[in-house]
């Protein structure tokens, strides 16, 4: 076996002139294209950075002053009346609102955030159905060009605290008609305090929100708040558009919390 022959055989292989010219021409074309071509790989990082900046610019309106994501063009505030006539309020767009549930001390205090005695005495709103924790938590919405707001609860009801005279309290038919199911009277007083069932949804004109003192009644089972309670706020704008924001209602130990979904 002569490897010199092999070498000679291989060395005799040559590109044809035609192929050689073709390779040169193709390489020149490719070289020209390369010189004119944008180097995409090197621009990827620049494009990514630009994209992030663009996203930030577009996204700025969706962040509130606290830097949290503001998913809607309005702000929802949760309120609760406190015993000292002050109000606890939390902007839900910025943080989660936590309200303490009723404690033993508050049992005879109707003005408390939740009044367990009312629950124990009278049971659920409307007679049948689940038991409710009556909170003093109500909502207010702030935004621009808003015509009306529709609040809906998938579980639970909106209620309104009403004050009745003795006569009104004794008019059972009217009470049923008005869905006023729960009546309480301070000892020695001739003024009754009742709870009126509004239902699981209501609509309020934006400019009249202060006139609607509807609060939340949250269903519970042996003082454990049901899961997956969603409160929806559907905002109807003056231009006919609408926007929805869901709020999750959860129990945290001896308090309930409301947070944007």
């Amino acid at each position: 076996m002569d490897f010199d022959k092999m070498k000679h055989a291989v060395k005799s292989i040559e590109m044809s002139k035609e192929m050689e010219n073709r390779v040169k021409a193709n390489c020149k074309n490719a070289g020209m294209k390369k010189s004119k071509q944008i180097h995409y790989k090197s621009w990827i990082s620049v494009a990514c950075a630009f994209g992030i900046v663009l996203l930030m610019i577009i996204g700025i309106p969706y962040f509130n002053n606290s830097g949290d994501l503001q998913v809607a063009n309005f702000t929802i505030t949760a309120y609760a009346d406190l015993n000292d006539d002050s109000q606890l309020h939390t902007n839900l767009s910025a943080e989660k609102a936590t309200f303490e549930l009723g404690t033993e001390d508050r049992l005879d205090n109707i003005g408390g955030v939740a009044t367990r005695d009312r629950m124990d005495t009278l049971g659920g709103v409307g007679g049948d159905g689940p038991n409710y924790i009556f909170t003093n938590v109500k909502l207010k919405l702030t935004g621009e060009e808003i015509e009306s707001i529709t609040y809906t609860m998938n579980k639970g009801k909106f209620i309104e605290d009403v004050i009745l005279t003795v006569e009104e309290a004794n008019n059972k038919d009217q009470l049923v008609l008005d869905k006023i199911y729960i009546m309480l009277r301070e000892p020695g007083s001739d003024i009754y305090q009742g709870i009126k069932e509004i239902g699981n949804t209501y609509t309020v004109p934006y400019n009249e929100q202060d006139q609607y003192e509807y609060t939340l009644a949250i269903p519970h089972d042996d003082w454990v708040v049901e899961d997956d309670i969603i409160l929806s706020a559907i905002v109807n704008y003056t231009d006919g558009n609408s926007e929805q924001q869901d709020i999750i209602v959860m129990q945290e130990s001896n308090s309930i919390s409301l947070a944007l979904k």
């Binding site: 092999m6 291989v10 040559e14």
Partner: protein, 166 residues
């Protein structure tokens, strides 16, 4: 800009003139296909232009081109599911020495790893250590492949001689 284009064109001319045939024969022996060989040569030269590597000397440049070429050949072989083998009549188009067609055919039928080392050692004249660097393998692996490649091609050659095929 124009000067850059001229410089690139001069480079292409020089590289193809200097190394084109050498690269093509390596590719042809490894790939056994004219079109694939041409593509690999072209890709190698384009890579040379785009990377614009700096070389110590012409030997360094040649070794770099061979490394790129062998790697491209390996990749192309991986993607070629059906291993093509050039018919001896087509081989005549490129091999100017009719006497050694059979020998060349034997070489082309060897496994790639043996072809690489035999080509680089016997045809391009590289030493074992240099081949090890080009192919990124150990020197002992180069030696084994050389030995095995020699045996294979020798056996094939002897069989064909025995059966009167040569």
């Amino acid at each position: 800009m124009q000067q850059l284009v001229w410089s690139a064109e001069r480079d292409i001319e020089r590289v193809v003139d200097t190394y084109g045939h050498m690269l093509f024969r390596i590719c042809l022996v490894i790939l056994c296909n004219e079109q694939d060989a041409e593509d690999v040569v072209q890709d190698t030269i384009i890579k040379y232009l785009t990377k614009s590597p700096t070389f110590n000397d012409s030997e360094h440049e040649k070794a770099w081109l061979i490394t790129i070429t062998t790697n491209r050949c390996k990749n192309m072989r991986r993607y070629n599911f059906i291993r093509k083998h050039m018919d001896i009549s087509n081989l005549q188009l490129y091999c100017q020495d009719e006497e050694n067609y059979g020998l060349l055919d034997d070489l082309m039928k060897l496994p790639d790893k043996h072809k690489f080392v035999l080509l680089l050692h016997y045809v391009e004249g590289y030493k074992v250590d240099e081949i090890a660097k080009i192919l990124s393998i150990t020197s002992s692996a180069v030696k084994k492949r050389l030995q095995r490649g020699r045996e294979l091609i020798r056996n094939r050659y002897e069989k064909e001689t025995e059966y009167g095929l040569r």
